[in-house]
């Protein structure tokens, strides 16, 4: 439906997009993600003819956008812009009805199809209940939904969303994206610039990661969102895990410290352990964890920050398999931290370990070979000379 073929755009002598090739077919929701100023909006604007590419072509339904009239484009692709302004106060319904402009001749009055399109757009965006109010009296988020309704009223085979969730609360952000994915399910081609990586990964079939005007990767969210790519694109270290609720990729940015290059294994459950995991990840340690009780907050946190996590059913004896997996991780780690209450089996594993073993003050029953430190001083303790000295002993 929408095809970009090595598109390049220059603005004021600066390359905004360079050699971007991308295709969105009907029935697909593709999210363009990337840092601010990466060219996401520009990319979208080449698709509806607002920007003419300096190199390459963008085709809509098989024909070059630049050869199509505004009316033809508006019948093929509807756009939800990042922000919209209305100098004079139209009623919500009037604004939504403007979505029918490309379908109506200059003098025709609204017909059945027009009314139907407007009505279902109002219903779908839950704007029907304030359809008689003036746009100026609405909040930013409500207005955003009105603009969305306007685009839906266009009834086009393709949709462009520019940051559709930017001014929406979490509820409506999720609703908007699930609507976008629903539209894709109805054979619409949806191309959206999305800021929130987690939401993009949750709802979109494919992601296109854009940085510095170029396309870094295209593909399923799990394949595109890797720590290395995110660091290249956003310039920040990030932990990529799996959201325990949605089962999709989730990205947690870490503060700017460089990775330290050695590994800490964490055992212990509960919120204290989860906090310790976060602290260690933030400080740049490579983390492994386990055995942790499945579903525990520490296990969830570990999934998003740790390189490897072993979990086992909570309140049940730990089986042979997780035990040996955890043992392997323990063996590979440069240091071990007991960060909270833990099962006997773990205590046994840790207790039999030589080398550096720490326990935070949150561990109720620290193993005898552990050095107990306050949670807040853990990073400093791990950073101590003795930690480095023991790096090879494991």
């Amino acid at each position: 439906m929408i095809e970009l073929d090595s598109v390049g755009v220059e603005r004021g002598g600066k390359t905004v997009l360079d050699g971007v090739s991308l295709a969105v077919s009907r029935g697909e929701l593709l999210a363009v993600v990337g840092p601010n100023g990466a060219g996401k909006t520009t990319l979208l604007r080449t698709c509806n003819g607002l920007i003419e590419p300096d190199e390459g072509t963008v085709s809509l339904d098989g024909a070059d956008v630049t050869t199509r009239s505004a009316r033809e484009i508006a019948r093929l692709v509807a756009t939800v812009p990042q922000e919209t302004q209305l100098a004079f106060d139209f009623d919500v319904e009037d604004v939504v009805a403007m979505g029918r402009t490309p379908h109506r001749s200059r003098f025709a009055t609204a017909d059945e199809a027009d009314r139907d399109a407007v009505e279902s757009a109002l219903e779908r965006t839950e704007t029907a209940r304030f359809s008689g109010r003036s746009v100026g009296s609405l909040s930013g988020g409500e207005r955003q939904r009105v603009v969305l309704a306007r685009a839906l009223a266009q009834r086009t085979p393709a949709l462009l969303f520019d940051e559709p969730t930017a001014s929406l609360d979490i509820n409506h952000a999720v609703r908007t994206l699930s609507m976008a994915s629903g539209l894709a399910g109805e054979r619409t081609a949806v191309l959206a610039a999305v800021h929130d990586l987690d939401l993009a990964a949750w709802f979109c079939d494919r992601l296109a990661l854009v940085a510095n005007g170029g396309l870094l990767a295209v593909g399923p969210p799990e394949a595109v969102l890797t720590s290395e790519r995110l660091e290249t694109a956003f310039g920040v270290r990030a932990a990529v895990g799996t959201n325990p609720v949605t089962g999709t990729a989730t990205v947690t940015p870490l503060s700017a410290d460089p990775p330290r290059g050695y590994r800490v294994h964490v055992v212990g459950g509960g919120e204290a352990a989860a906090r310790t995991l976060g602290r260690l990840a933030d400080a740049g340690f490579e983390i492994t964890a386990g055995v942790l009780p499945a579903g525990d907050v520490a296990a969830v946190t570990a999934r998003s920050v740790a390189r490897d996590v072993v979990t086992a059913r909570a309140f049940a004896p730990i089986g042979r398999e997780p035990r040996s997996a955890a043992k392997a991780l323990l063996g590979a780690a440069d240091a071990v931290v007991v960060a909270g209450p833990t099962a006997d089996a773990n205590a046994e594993l840790v207790g039999g370990r030589s080398g550096r073993v720490f326990a935070t003050d949150a561990a109720p029953d620290p193993p005898s070979n552990a050095r107990v430190v306050a949670e807040s001083e853990l990073v400093a303790a791990l950073d101590g000379e003795d930690v480095l000295a023991s790096a090879s002993s494991a």
């Binding site: 509806n48 003819g49 607002l50 009239s69 505004a70 009316r71 033809e72 484009i73 508006a74 019948r75 692709v77 509807a78 756009t79 812009p81 919209t84 302004q85 209305l86 100098a87 004079f88 106060d89 139209f90 009623d91 009037d94 604004v95 403007m98 979505g99 402009t101 490309p102 200059r106 003098f107 009055t109 609204a110 306007r150 266009q154």
Partner: protein, 348 residues
């Protein structure tokens, strides 16, 4: 829905216009009652009837009216009222479009220099007497269009005409043309009074000839504006949004700009610079009927006609006649200030 509202409002304002015209015709130096006015008007109505194989025009409503009364009504008052209605109609229509075009409730029909251009043309003609039929309106009309085109040309780059540039270019040209007018006035000599009187905006020397000059231009170009009313609505969403909704933005802007300039020029050419009609009337009507130009444009235009006929009646019914531009300004300026104080002014 929209069509029904438009027709209802237009019918109401049309009726108001007829009432104001009748009342205005009865006002004046010579005492003529409203019934006499009605008789004169009804007496002019001709109805075709078939008689002896050919069409015969008869006047079924002809009534006995003194010859002088008929002359005053037909040759003095009516052309002036008709011209007032046309000018008011034109200015209010152009003002509505310009306010929408610039997305600014403080815009008026002359914002891109049309009136200044007309003034230079008219004053030049007055100062440099040439014997051309309808020379003054023709010069004013030409000056207006040249000025508008200049502003457009200056503001256009690479096929795009940013609204803000247009606005600033308009202001700059108006200032420059103001200086040209001053120079012309300095060398006006005996013609100074005529020129100043013209600049004030008046309907004093209205003739049927001028009505015939202005009416077709205003009528035709008003219809063009009406045809673009919905595009203008969409344009209010911003140019990018309008494009994504299927409007050829630059072409639509050109059409709107050219058409409203011609409409304004036609009005200014026959009446001089009458201010505030094109500013206040659209604004008031927007408060009444809302921002939808499909309703706003025809109703504003009709209200403009009513307003100018009424104010011109005031202008000519005092002990000495004053140019109607003074009356509209006297009413308009306070209203403008009221708007400034009471409403948020969006971007200029």
């Amino acid at each position: 829905m929209v069509l029904r509202r438009t027709l209802a409002w237009s019918a109401a304002l049309g009726a108001l216009l007829v009432a104001v015209v009748l009342a205005s015709t009865a006002f004046g130096y010579a005492a003529i009652g409203p019934f006499e006015v009605a008789y004169v008007l009804l007496g002019r109505i001709r109805v075709p009837t078939a008689g002896g194989g050919s069409v015969v025009w008869i006047r079924p409503f002809a009534a006995e009216v003194p010859r002088s009364t008929e002359l005053i009504v037909r040759q003095i008052r009516l052309p002036r009222i008709a011209l007032g209605a046309i000018v008011g109609f034109a200015l209010a229509a152009a003002g509505t479009v310009m306010q929408g075009f610039f997305r600014n409730p403080m815009a008026d029909p002359s914002i891109i220099g049309v009136s200044s251009g007309a003034a230079v043309g008219a004053v030049a003609f007055i100062v440099v007497p040439l014997s051309v039929p309808f020379g003054r309106p023709a010069f004013a009309f030409g000056g207006a269009l040249i000025a508008a085109f200049l502003v457009y040309a200056v503001a256009t780059e690479g096929g795009r005409t940013p609204v803000a540039t247009l606005l600033l270019a308009g202001i700059a040209l108006q200032t420059f043309l103001g200086a040209v007018i001053s120079v012309l006035l300095l060398s006006a000599g005996d013609d100074l009074e005529t020129a100043v009187y013209w600049l004030m905006g008046h309907l004093h020397d209205s003739t049927w000839g001028r009505v015939r000059l202005a009416l077709p231009i205003v009528a035709v170009f008003f219809l063009v504006l009406l045809a673009y009313a919905r595009d203008l609505n969409v344009l209010l969403l911003g140019e990018s949004d309008a494009h994504t909704l299927g409007i050829e933005v630059e072409r639509t802007k050109r059409v709107l700009l050219a058409t409203s300039s011609v409409v304004t020029a036609a009005a200014v050419a026959v009446s001089g610079v009458i201010g505030f009609v094109g500013l206040i009337v659209p604004h008031v009507m927007r408060l009444v009927v809302g921002p939808d130009h499909r309703i706003l444009l025809p109703t504003s235009a009709l209200a403009g006609a009513v307003f100018l006929v009424a104010t011109d009646t005031v202008a000519r019914s005092g002990p000495t006649e004053v140019p109607v531009g003074i009356v509209t300004a006297a009413l308009g300026a306070p209203f403008f200030l009221y708007l400034l104080r009471s409403r948020e002014v969006h971007a200029l």
